[in-house]
């Protein structure tokens, strides 16, 4: 690739300039105390995600392994959930043994017609929508219970 060691000699001289670029004089003295302050303020605290990401950034292969594990776990749980659903559907639907489990059967077995709301129910049997929905209030505010009438002969 390069057999001539002097090929980059001038470039090497030029790169020396970069070594003379220095930060402001007090900067490095303040840097460590800034870092210490931030750590003492709690920025150095480690939660689970920080710990994981710290490990991942140092060992990228760990990140891949972790990603694969998570994907695998998600895939397996999805498969087991689908299996479970299908088994439930097969158990609950009539004639399941004949038809075999099917997603449509599972949905059909779970479907129960909902009770219609009260006002709809009233409308179905009565043209007065308020007839059954209102509580039976006593007329004129007092309850008047029916009393048996006794009729005596000869009076």
């Amino acid at each position: 690739m390069n057999s001539d060691p002097d090929e980059f000699e001038t470039l090497r001289k030029l790169m020396a300039l970069k070594r003379h670029e220095q930060p402001p004089p007090e900067y490095l003295h303040q840097l460590s105390s800034r870092i210490r302050t931030r750590i003492e303020r709690g920025e150095g605290q480690l939660n689970l995600w920080d710990r994981l990401s710290a490990n991942f950034s140092l060992r990228p292969c760990l990140a891949y392994a972790f990603g694969l594990t998570v994907c695998g776990a998600l895939g397996l749980s999805a498969i087991s959930m689908v299996k479970q659903e299908m088994e439930q559907a097969a158990d609950s639907s009539p004639g399941a043994t004949l038809r075999g489990p099917s997603p449509a059967g599972a949905f059909a077995s779970q479907f129960k017609p909902a009770t219609p709301p009260l006002h709809v129910a009233n409308w179905l049997g009565n043209t007065n929508p308020t007839a059954e929905s209102q509580p039976e209030l006593p007329l004129f505010g007092t309850s008047r219970a029916a009393r048996p009438v006794l009729y005596e002969a000869g009076n």
Binding site: L14, M15, L17, H20, E21, L31, I35, E40, R51, A54
Partner: protein
């Protein structure tokens, strides 16, 4: 410890193995820092104390390596403010993750790896929104024989001054891919060896050499006017 794993090797690295490093700076890697050097507490002791939430021990570790980490991030971003944020986040993240540090590598390599990953991620996110905020060149640059020769030589741009050269150099660096720029920064500016860079960047030496060669070639192309 040398990682022999092959990373996302993008270039052929057969010839690159022959290449030699151009710059060697003295004593950058702290093999000595792991041991006790003239009464100094070792990194490992400080790490163990910091793992028990001794913030002062961690503060000492930060002081030891902040300059090198800052320099790396700064040369990668060419922006002081971004480098400042990234260095702080690097050390905070390292503190958070300190309990996972087992001592397989040196603390220095470990924290460097965090800084490198963080910086590369940052640069990828900000791909087209980078702007330079350069530090001043120190006074020693005026006395650097290499630079003096370069600036005073009768190049096609005789009026070239140090600030302009700095600007062009940083602009050229920003044109490199993140991985190429990182290798140039670690090797040609900071003086790390291929092995150390391989360990930090989690790839083999061949890939490091190959990236370095291509990066230098690209830089030469970008800076052709200044290298004649």
């Amino acid at each position: 410890m040398l990682i022999k794993r092959s990373c996302d090797g993008e270039e052929d690295n057969t010839k690159a193995q022959l290449e030699k490093p151009l710059v060697r700076l003295p004593a950058v890697i702290p093999e000595e820092a792991e041991g006790v050097e003239s009464g100094q507490i070792s990194d490992l002791t400080l790490v163990r104390n910091a793992q028990r939430e001794d913030v002062r021990a961690y503060d000492e570790l930060v002081r030891r390596y902040q300059e090198r980490i800052y320099a790396t991030v700064y040369h990668m971003t060419s922006n002081h403010e971004d480098a400042n944020d990234l260095v702080q986040e690097t050390f905070i993240k390292a503190y958070r993750a300190l309990k996972t540090f087992k001592g397989d590598s040196s603390f220095y390599t470990w924290v460097y790896r965090i800084a490198v990953n963080k910086t590369i991620n940052f640069l990828k996110q900000r791909k087209n929104r980078l702007h330079m905020s350069l530090n001043d060149v120190d006074l020693n640059a005026e006395n650097d024989p290499d630079l003096v020769a370069l600036v005073s030589e009768k190049t096609p741009r005789r009026d070239l001054n140090m600030a302009e050269l700095q600007d062009k150099l940083n602009a050229a660096m920003l044109k490199l891919s993140e991985h190429h720029r990182m290798v140039v920064t670690l090797h040609d500016i900071q003086g790390l060896s291929h092995e150390e860079i391989g360990e930090i960047m989690d790839c083999n030496i061949g890939t490091v050499r190959s990236r370095l060669f291509y990066a230098r070639q690209q830089l030469q192309g970008y800076l052709l006017d200044y290298l004649k």
